[in-house]
């Protein structure tokens, strides 16, 4: 026999390594997919003199070219729609439908110009509006942006126009209203969400457009039409409806041109194009190339040769052009380049007015871009240093050239113009490479690593014994570190900088390879042994029994690939959870294990007859199972009332419990809610207390039991008081305002302090066992010895093995009698009484869950107390359901693998975490994040971002956290509940009811069971992360990618990280308890065997 000790550190290291694999996979993928950019919160102003300047005002020195502008944005106006080919005899529905552009171009070549307007990915409307108002390259995550509202905080054209006193009138797509709240002089937003609605927005605009233009209450008029885009999404471009829509737009442009006055510029543009199916979002030319058409009633453009193809203009270039044409400063973060045809080559004085020449405009533009680049590279480090230094060099050269030219009074040289242009283009390209390009290589590598990680978890869960025996985490770590270091050194040598993502990716990949290789070796080596044929056979036999839970998991993962199912995720999770929990009794019944009515068993003749158990035991267990199913189903159904609503869900009212009590108007309703919440809080406490007392853990004198007795209830009282204070309307107690303010700060902090104290105590001394030497009646004999007195020469381990059941048996018996010490059997009993030894592992976990749950509840609105109580009930019901089904199977069926937690239970547990994510009012969308959590205990706000960030994270993933901490309970619960069945079964009474001490008896099996459970948990979670990663990668040009899939990916990935961290914490606690139990027995043995 080997050492009868559990492998604690290797198991933990293995789990850590598994988590690291997933983290690196997620990091790689997200690094390639989610483009991040920092926002610069600075604004340009007319009084700015740009850094290497001559001291004059740069932005507003000369007369603006136009006083007013009309900007018609036709959503998804692809460049193809604007082309006109008179030779085309049978045009397709989208061809030749905008003849006005061609007519203007040929009849007034100096008044109008058509460009191809190239957008940057992501080609979605909101990012594009940001793009052509700020002149930058908005990414999916613009850090610094306020997540709670989508308002643009960066400097932008609308802001600058407002600062310059221009009256901006907006009408159309209501996205603008959320991006620029209160920035417009007048705004007529129309709902944009319903893609199937082709006309509401357009008709709304047309009702007001002409009358507004004819009036004088405006300087800049923005009208955003959505019909063409919606028509594309609904029918595609190749549909008669598109022809109608474009013809309507043609009429609109004509009517607008008729009403234009001489000082007004007309801009007609699309924000992006569309694919042949009418979608957009990606980076293909069909999606990025939109039309851009300028018209001015006065001649503006130099004569050109009529070119067949319109010139390509990047979308960022509109901002500096419009800014200089209208005489406002170029927004601070713009990286665009002025469109040159608007500016005369020489600064000539035409009549009275002087306009900016090409060179002057470009020079202002270059200085502004250089200023932004310096500011940005100062705060963020994501622009590669070598390109940055190259750009700096280029700029200083330009500076020298330009100032030299100005000093000598030379005429503008065309070479300088080209040099300035190439500088601006270079800046744009560098920024684009940093912010606006998916990195397909990184994305693929991330997907690859995530896939192998999932497969490895699957292999680990099916071969946990082999993994436990053969795996040395240190070897993998060393190999990983070595490979990572080599890659880093290689990068440093060849590229000059280190990309951490690739080093980590390589490290993890090679350690995975090593792991697989070792696993194969172990398999081959073990093949000779007689024992190994077993696992391989079971490996194949497992497949059919796995099929249903894995099928449900597959359904869940597939559902992440469809936007409709992601939107309905709360319902989908409940549906699957319900189906899977109904599956348990149905499956048991199919195997004839539930409610066996006929006494003669119908077992196959080959098997050994099961021990004769009275059918009352089985029936009792079955009834418990069905009752638990009832509780589970009821709490599932009730939890549906706590859901929040997504914007996409049409008819849906968010749960009234989500509203903080202070905002409930009706005072009676408020009191009712408050009482309900407090009752739920009390019930939460009582249930925990009752459970601990029932299993004798409260008798312990140690700090853990102290935690359950004092800090937990005290923290709850603080929470209740805090809710009372925070829900009082401010005007009720004016006199006590200071006291209330103090309580708002102090009460939650005291509660958190109590909880922190409790958690610390739990870690310091997690044992909840009370050992009591028995007061034996007979006076003779110093210390009564255990009944199974070890004969001489028996190892201390054997001694232990006998001692534990004794301890446990005593404890049960004394509990039954209600009086711990007085037992009628007198001196025949063993010497020790141990309270709570049977639940020594699960009690600290339950306690930790209770503490954490209370803390997390404090971060939610008061009404969520009910949801948390439901969560506790559901978790308990799930655990009992799992325990009962395992007991029923083990009582009658053939002996299965010891301590193995079946897939169905792990999947149920994980689905419950997803389900309660929704049932605590959360949604995988950014607007639904509950920011109030950051202000619990900090009503005045914070200094840093770490604390509020972690509070909000804890609030968001509280359901994941609680279920992750409770995860090891799946292993312990069948053992905790085992006693109920066995105690009554007289046939089995020979075997002692030792509950969790069974795990101590077989430490090898214990560690492999832990490995298996963790591997199954991580597999299920990892498969979901993989599915949402795949969804984001495959559907990256789906209409909903930035609205549904990318946020879902972020939530799924961060949920995985948070949940895995807390799973690790829970497993560490189990190891900590195991360590403490070993210590306790070491102390016990010498005392009694001496």
């Amino acid at each position: 026999m080997g050492t009868a000790r559990m492998k604690r550190l290797p198991v933990l290291a293995l789990l850590l390594w598994v988590c690291a694999m997933f983290y690196v996979g997620i990091y790689l993928f997200v690094g390639g997919f989610l483009l991040v950019r920092l926002e610069v919160n600075k604004s340009s102003s007319c009084s700015d003199s740009l850094p290497p300047g001559t001291g004059t005002q740069d932005f507003c020195p000369v007369e603006p070219r136009f006083r007013r502008a009309v900007v018609l944005i036709i959503d998804a106006l692809k460049i193809d729609f604007a082309r006109f080919d008179s030779h085309n005899i049978s045009p397709r529905p989208f061809e030749n439908k905008l003849p006005v552009l061609e007519e203007m171009k040929s009849s007034h070549p100096a008044h109008s110009r058509l460009f191809a307007f190239r957008a940057d990915p992501p080609t979605t409307t909101m990012q594009r509006i940001k793009g052509f108002t700020t002149g930058s390259l908005p990414t999916f995550v613009d850090v610094g942006n306020n997540f709670a509202s989508s308002a643009i905080l960066e400097d932008n054209l609308v802001h600058q126009l407002g600062e310059a006193g221009k009256r901006v009138v907006f009408m159309g797509d209501d996205t603008w209203e959320s991006l620029f709240p209160k920035k417009f002089h007048r705004s007529l937003p129309f709902p944009s969400f319903n893609v199937k609605d082709l006309h509401t927005v357009d008709d709304g605009i047309l009702k007001h457009l002409y009358s507004t233009m004819e009036g004088s209450e405006w300087d800049v008029l923005i009208a955003h039409f959505l019909g063409v885009d919606h028509c594309g999404h609904r029918f595609g471009p190749n549909h008669p409806a598109m022809a109608d829509k474009l013809t309507q737009m043609d009429r609109v442009i004509r009517s607008v041109i008729e009403r234009l006055q001489n000082d007004t510029l007309l801009v007609v543009m699309g924000d992006h194009g569309m694919t042949d199916s009418g979608d957009h979002g990606g980076e293909s030319l069909k999606e990025t190339d939109a039309a851009l058409f300028f018209y001015s009633p006065t001649p503006t453009f130099p004569p050109t040769l009529s070119q067949a193809e319109p010139e390509v203009v990047p979308q960022t270039d509109l901002v500096p052009t419009l800014a200089l044409l209208l005489g406002v400063p170029i927004p601070y973060s713009s990286i665009g380049q002025v469109i040159l045809p608007f500016f005369p080559e020489e600064s000539q004085a035409s009549g009275v007015q002087t306009y900016l020449s090409q060179l002057e405009a470009l020079w202002i533009n270059a200085k502004q871009v250089n200023r932004f680049l310096e500011t940005y590279s100062h705060i963020a480090k994501d622009i590669p240093p070598e390109s940055l230094s190259m750009l700096r060099e280029q700029f200083s050269f330009l500076l020298a050239e330009y100032s030299g030219m100005v000093k000598e009074g030379q005429a503008a040289s065309p070479t300088l113009v080209t040099a300035l242009q190439s500088y601006l283009t270079a800046v744009r390209n560098v920024c684009r490479a940093t912010w606006a390009k998916f990195n397909p290589l990184k994305m693929t590598a991330g997907i690859l690593i995530l896939t192998t990680s999932c497969l490895l978890c699957l292999a680990m869960s099916e071969m946990s014994e082999m993994v436990r025996d053969s795996f040395m985490p240190w070897a993998s770590l060393v190999v990983g570190a070595f490979v990572g270091g080599t890659v880093a050194a290689g990068q440093q040598g060849s590229l000059g900088y280190v990309d951490i993502a690739w080093c980590l990716g390589a490290a993890i990949f090679f350690s995975q390879l090593l792991f697989i290789w070792r696993l194969c070796c172990a398999k081959d080596n073990g093949g000779g042994g007689a024992r190994d044929s077993g696992p391989r056979q079971t490996g194949w036999r497992i497949l059919p029994t796995l099929s249903i839970p894995l099928l449900v998991l597959a359904l869940r993962c597939t559902s992440l690939l469809s936007d409709s199912y992601v939107i309905a995720e709360g319902r989908v999770a409940t549906f699957l959870l319900l189906s899977l929990s109904f599956y348990i009794p149905l499956h048991l019944n199919w195997d004839g294990l539930l409610l066996p009515f006929s006494p003669e068993s119908q077992k196959a003749p080959g098997l050994l007859p099961p021990p004769p158990l009275p059918s009352s035991v089985i029936r009792r267990e079955s009834l418990i199972l069905l009752a638990c199913l009832g509780v589970l189903v009821a709490s599932l159904y009730l939890s549906l009332f706590f859901h929040n609503c997504r914007e996409e869900q049409g008819t849906c009212d968010p749960s009234p419990f989500l509203l903080p009590l202070a905002r409930v108007q009706d005072s009676r309703l408020r009191n009712l809610h408050y009482v309900l919440s407090v009752v739920a809080l009390a019930a939460w406490n009582y249930l925990l207390y009752w459970w601990l007392r029932h299993y004798g853990n409260l008798n312990s004198p140690g700090p853990a039991a102290f935690t359950a007795r004092w800090p937990l209830p005290l923290a709850s009282i603080c929470a209740g008081l805090y809710w009372a204070v925070s829900s009082t309307p401010e005007e009720t107690f004016r006199g006590l305002a200071e006291l209330i303010a103090l309580a708002l700060v102090a009460l939650p902090r005291i509660a958190f302090a109590f909880l922190g104290l409790g958690t610390t105590l739990l870690w310091l001394s997690p044992l909840t066992v009370f050992l009591k030497p028995r007061q034996v009646a007979c006076p003779q004999g110093p210390t009564p010895l255990p009944r199974y007195r070890a004969s001489t020469g028996v190892s201390p381990e054997a001694e232990l093995r006998h001692l534990i059941p004794q301890l446990y048996q005593r404890m049960r018996r004394s509990l039954e009698d209600g009086e711990p010490s007085g037992s009628p059997e007198g001196h025949s009993g063993p010497a020790m009484e141990a309270y709570g030894l049977g639940t020594v592992y699960s009690a600290p976990l339950v306690l930790l869950t209770g503490l954490l749950g209370l803390g997390l509840l404090l971060l939610h609105s008061e009404g969520m107390a009910l949801a948390f109580l439901l969560l506790l009930l559901e978790a308990a019901a799930l655990l009992h359901l799992h325990a009962s089904s395992v007991t029923l199977e083990s009582l009658q069926g053939p002996q299965k693998e010891v301590f193995s937690v079946p897939w169905v239970s792990v999947l149920l547990w994980d689905l419950a975490a997803t389900q309660f994510f929704h049932a605590t009012g959360h949604l995988p969308t950014f607007p639904s994040i509950q920011w109030d959590a950051a202000f619990v205990g900090f009503p005045k706000g914070h200094v840093g971002t770490l604390l509020p960030g972690s509070l909000v994270t804890l609030n968001t993933f509280s359901s994941h956290i609680l279920f992750a901490v409770g995860c090891p309970l799946l292993l312990f619960w069948p053992l905790v509940c085992e006693v109920r069945a066995l105690r009554q079964g007289h046939g089995a009474s020979k075997e002692d009811a030792v509950m969790e001490m069974r795990l101590r008896e077989r430490p090898q099996k214990f560690s492999s069971a832990l490995v298996q459970l963790a591997a199954r948990c991580f597999f299920i979670k990892g498969a979901q992360v993989l599915a949402s990663v795949l969804a984001a990668a495959i559907l990256r040009r789906h209409l909903m990618v930035w609205k549904v899939f990318a946020p879902k990916l972020m939530f799924e990935a961060s949920g995985f990280v948070v949940a895995s961290v807390f799973t690790l914490i829970a497993f560490t606690l189990v190891m900590r308890v195991d360590f403490a139990v070993s210590g306790m027995f070491k102390k016990l043995i010498p005392e009694h065997s001496r």
Partner: protein, 219 residues
């Protein structure tokens, strides 16, 4: 013996299946503006009624699968009463289950209940006909070794298929396709019906192919 039983069963199944088709075709002639989507409830009840009639006729009048212990009138009456009670209870049971699965609680309660009636007809009614009003026997049949005749196996298959069909029928509901059959509860009733039909078709073949493994104990 095997062939004989399977053939008998297949012909009964064919009769039930054709009754479903008739229940779809006949109202189209009689009822004005009849369509499966438009007047869905009419279709549901016509299918349920025809399946019920054929089942009762086949199993009760022809005496298939039912062993009457006593043939007195009072026994028959009490049996009929108990059967109809069980049927009603099963309708409510299905109704509750469907609501738990996320059907609206109050609005369109009639539609939900119609689905429950249809499911009861496909499952409970056949149980009542084949096994009589005895929950114990029902629970026994739905275990691996519980089938005692080809009828029991066919019951297992058709019941499982109808329930799974209704379950699968819920899947298209959240999708944003805006099809007429995505309206509650059309997809579920259609799913249950298709499941039941496929169960009727599969059962004889299944039993035929697995006749070696199927060993029924005599009753």
């Amino acid at each position: 013996m095997w062939d004989h039983e399977i053939k008998g069963m297949a012909s009964v199944h064919a009769a039930i299946a054709s009754s479903i088709f008739m229940a779809t075709l006949v109202p189209a002639v009689i009822v004005e503006k009849f369509s499966v989507y438009g007047t869905h409830l009419v279709w549901v009840y016509s299918v349920a009624a025809s399946v019920a009639v054929v089942n009762i006729a086949m199993f009760w009048l022809l005496g298939v699968g039912l062993v009457a212990k006593r043939n007195t009138l009072s026994y028959k009456v009490s049996r009929a009463i108990r059967s109809s009670l069980y049927f009603t209870l099963s309708c409510f049971f299905y109704h509750i289950i469907v609501i738990l699965y996320g059907a609206p609680l109050l609005e369109s309660a009639l539609e939900t209940f119609s689905l429950a009636v249809l499911l009861s007809t496909f499952t409970t009614l056949r149980c009542l006909c084949l096994l009589g009003p005895s929950v114990q026997a029902w629970i026994r049949v739905f275990s691996r070794d519980g089938a005692m005749s080809v009828w029991d196996t066919s019951l297992q298959i058709t019941t499982a298929c109808s329930v799974i069909g209704a379950w699968l029928g819920a899947f298209p509901i959240p999708l944003d396709w805006d099809r007429p059959w995505q309206v509650w509860p059309i997809s579920c009733t259609m799913g249950a019906t298709f499941g039941f039909l496929s169960g009727l078709v599969i059962a004889p073949f299944w039993i035929h192919w697995h006749r070696k493994q199927l060993t029924y104990k005599s009753k």
